[in-house]
């Protein structure tokens, strides 16, 4: 196990900054998930931590020791990639113990460690089978068992679930979460799938355009996104974004006549310019009774929840349908769900009101 630190890490490909001044501390045993759109620099960062990618400037530290100049094999890391490469002619057991055999670990130790890993991964029934006999999700589990059997200081995972059928992916997500906490190994995981990141991470590192946008626990990043980008990237259905124009006594929604009065706004919000309100669909409620009357376009379900959509100008907004039955409703904004962003920079500008 190890603590991993990135200090002012930059990686240039010619003139292109793939990673731009990244600072991050991953604590011993922590599960950190790098999340971002393709090309944001997350995989490049992971490869640099593994030693597969050179750095331009800055330090990569394992437990306080600079490892930039160490070869991958000298870093005591294990890496699992999107596409599993097991030896097809070896049994599952032989595949798993391969890294130990290659290092000349005594036979008794190998047997003991295989027992340990087999127990945690619940692979007992599959040990004598060959990779081709296992479904893809199970093969990825074997690759993971092979990665952790030599107890690496850091486990690096590059989109390990994205090549797996959607039906097995959710299963594997549960397994991965369970296994990482069981093993307690420092884990850095790269994905573009926000659901995976939300499910698995102790903390999410959200990246965009080669820079870190926000580092926070999943709940924090969900409820208090640092920018419009973070607000839109995380959460499904997406956070509603509505342009607000200051008017006497409150803020007007776009070009409509609906005004959020000062009483409906967080007391801390002082703004002179236009702002964007970000509000999760779960905090935008269609209720029977008093509120802002607007025309509902559509209602639909996500799970057992009912949602509705309505339009403000060109924006289509979504909310949760809390009406007891069909019929007209009006729209309520939940004060504790309001996020305010600078309309120009997209940065968060006001603290949420206490719930």
């Amino acid at each position: 196990m190890a603590k991993v630190e990135l200090r002012d890490l930059s990686i240039l490909f010619g003139a292109f900054k793939a990673v731009d001044q990244v600072n991050l501390t991953v604590n011993d045993g922590e599960f950190v998930v790098y999340l971002g759109p393709s090309g944001c620099g997350k995989t490049t960062t992971l490869r640099a931590i593994a030693g597969l990618q050179g750095t331009t400037s800055g330090d990569i530290m394992f437990d306080g020791q600079r490892v930039n100049d160490l070869r991958p094999s000298e870093r005591n890391i294990a890496m699992v990639f999107q596409f599993v490469s097991l030896y097809p002619n070896l049994s599952i057991a032989e595949n798993i113990v391969f890294p130990l055999k290659a290092r000349g670990v005594p036979r008794a130790d190998i047997a003991r460690k295989l027992d340990w890993v087999t127990g945690i991964f619940r692979l007992g029934d599959d040990l004598r089978r060959h990779p081709a006999a296992l479904p893809p999700g199970a093969r990825q589990k074997v690759a993971l068992a092979r990665a952790v059997i030599r107890e690496p200081a850091v486990l690096l995972l590059d989109e390990p679930l994205s090549a797996i059928d959607e039906q097995f992916r959710e299963e594997m997500r549960w397994e991965l979460g369970h296994l990482q906490r069981e093993l307690g190994v420092t884990t850095i995981y790269v994905t573009h799938d926000q659901r995976e990141a939300m499910s698995l991470a102790d903390r999410i590192v959200l990246m965009n355009h080669s820079r870190i946008v926000q580092v926070a626990e999943p709940a924090r990043i969900f409820h208090e996104p640092a920018s419009v980008f973070a607000a839109q990237f995380i959460g499904s259905p997406s956070m509603n974004l509505i342009d607000l124009v200051p008017v006497p006594g409150g803020l007007r929604l776009g070009d409509t006549t609906v005004v959020l009065t000062d009483a409906e706004l967080p007391p801390g919000l002082r703004t002179k310019g236009p702002v964007r309100l970000g509000i999760r669909p779960r905090d935008l409620r269609l209720v029977s009774g008093a509120g802002h009357a607007l025309t509902v376009d559509d209602t639909f379900r996500v799970g057992r929840e009912r949602f509705f959509t309505f339009r403000i100008g060109h924006a289509i907004l979504q909310g949760t349908d809390h009406r007891s039955g069909p019929g007209p409703g009006s729209i309520m904004f939940a004060l504790e769900g309001m996020n305010f962003f600078d309309a120009v920079t997209g940065q968060r500008i006001a603290e949420r009101a206490a719930a």
Binding site: E166, Q167, R173, G177, S199, P218, F222, S236, V302, R304
Partner: protein, 362 residues
């Protein structure tokens, strides 16, 4: 209501391997029916047969009241989107989308074609790609072009086979909303095949559950929750899906190994089973995790930001559930849980058939 598509006893084998084992399915006019099932269940074969692109071994297909079982694909007035549908490579995006409108069936005037192509391309956010060669597009872009090709027409029936599964989550959500919008505006009829439960309930009026070449159940999602016709239905529906526990019918009660409480058989309505092994299925929403009841332990925790879900293991099985309270237990914690009054269904552990609630929901 009138049936737009009516399929009876449809069978199809490929090289002796049965893909469809007697499909009965009705899509009502102006509805979206989702065909929900795992890979290999027979979804694509059902759609291909409806479009006339494969010849069934047995069964009838009626479209708009007409028997089209042996009819040519071009005479059926259906519009098809398949995952990875091939675009015409020699045409650019605009001409690909306009292709059907220029065909002998439609022969729309060119200004009308231009208007509809532009509008459809806008909907699918491919307006900027209209002059591009299809070979230069990304997978997601090609998929959107193939959806546009289908949506630009107004056929009697749209057949959509996993049309959104290759797209990322945000685009998928937006396109689902667009499909619903098109459906609302034009009263279109759609058969939408998917393996994604969320996708199915987000778009469909009704859902047909397909597995192993057979339709297990068709209905509104609330009806399916109220009376799941088969254990497979429980596994394919819900988020998380149904929890199953090994159980036994003995002395007028249902006993679950390791559980303190015996469930009286009377709570399961009329039960078509004799004493012996059964599978107890419970929707996660009907299990309360709290301070008392049966004992289990937390296998894993799934934090989703706005809520947390847990997997709870006990001797007789395990379940996954979204927690309602703010307290989230840790992996390895001991927890207690109990079933809500009246909750639970009994299934045949071998065949999966529903044994309880014979004669309707409790």
């Amino acid at each position: 209501m009138t049936a737009m598509l009516d399929i009876r006893g449809l069978r199809k084998s490929y090289r002796g391997k049965a893909a469809l084992r007697g499909i009965d399915l009705t899509v009502q006019a102006h509805e979206i029916l989702a065909l929900l099932g795992p890979t290999g269940a027979g979804k694509s074969s059902t759609l291909l047969a409806s479009a006339g692109l494969i010849v069934p071994d047995a069964g009838q297909i009626h479209l708009g009241g007409r028997d089209v079982t042996g009819a040519e694909p071009s005479s059926r007035d259906v519009s098809v989107v398949f995952e990875g549908f091939n675009l015409l490579p020699i045409l650019n995006v605009r001409d690909n989308i306009a292709f059907a409108l220029r065909s002998s069936t439609y022969r729309e005037p060119e200004d009308e074609i231009a208007r509809r192509v532009a509008r459809t391309a806008d909907l699918l956010r491919i307006g900027h790609l209209l002059d591009r060669d299809t070979g230069t597009l990304s997978g997601g872009e090609r998929q959107r072009v193939s959806i546009a090709r289908a949506l630009v027409r107004r056929p009697m029936l749209y057949l959509l086979d996993e049309p959104l599964s290759a797209l990322d989550l945000k685009l998928r959500e937006e396109l689902r909303a667009e499909l619903r919008h098109i459906h609302r505006e034009h009263g279109t009829t759609m058969l939408y095949a998917t393996h994604d439960y969320h996708g199915a309930i987000a778009i469909a009026d009704r859902i047909a559950i397909i597995n192993n070449g057979r339709i297990l159940q068709t209905g509104r999602i609330d009806d399916i929750f109220a009376r799941p016709a088969d254990a497979i239905v429980g596994r394919l529906v819900g988020s998380p899906s149904m929890a199953f526990f090994r159980a036994e019918i003995a002395d007028g009660g249902v006993r679950v190994p390791g559980w303190r409480d015996v469930l009286p058989l009377s709570r399961f309505g009329k039960v078509a089973a004799r004493p012996g092994a059964v599978s107890l299925g419970v929707w996660p929403e009907d299990i309360d995790v709290g301070d008392s009841g049966e004992s289990g332990s937390i296998y894993a925790v799934d934090n989703r930001g706005y809520e947390a879900a847990v997997q709870v293991d006990c001797d007789a099985g395990s379940f996954r559930k979204v927690l309602e309270g703010t307290h989230v237990p840790q992996q390895g914690d001991a927890v207690s849980f109990r079933l809500r009054p009246g909750a639970g269904f009994l299934f045949d552990p071998a065949s999966g058939a529903l044994l309880s609630h014979q004669g309707g929901a409790a």
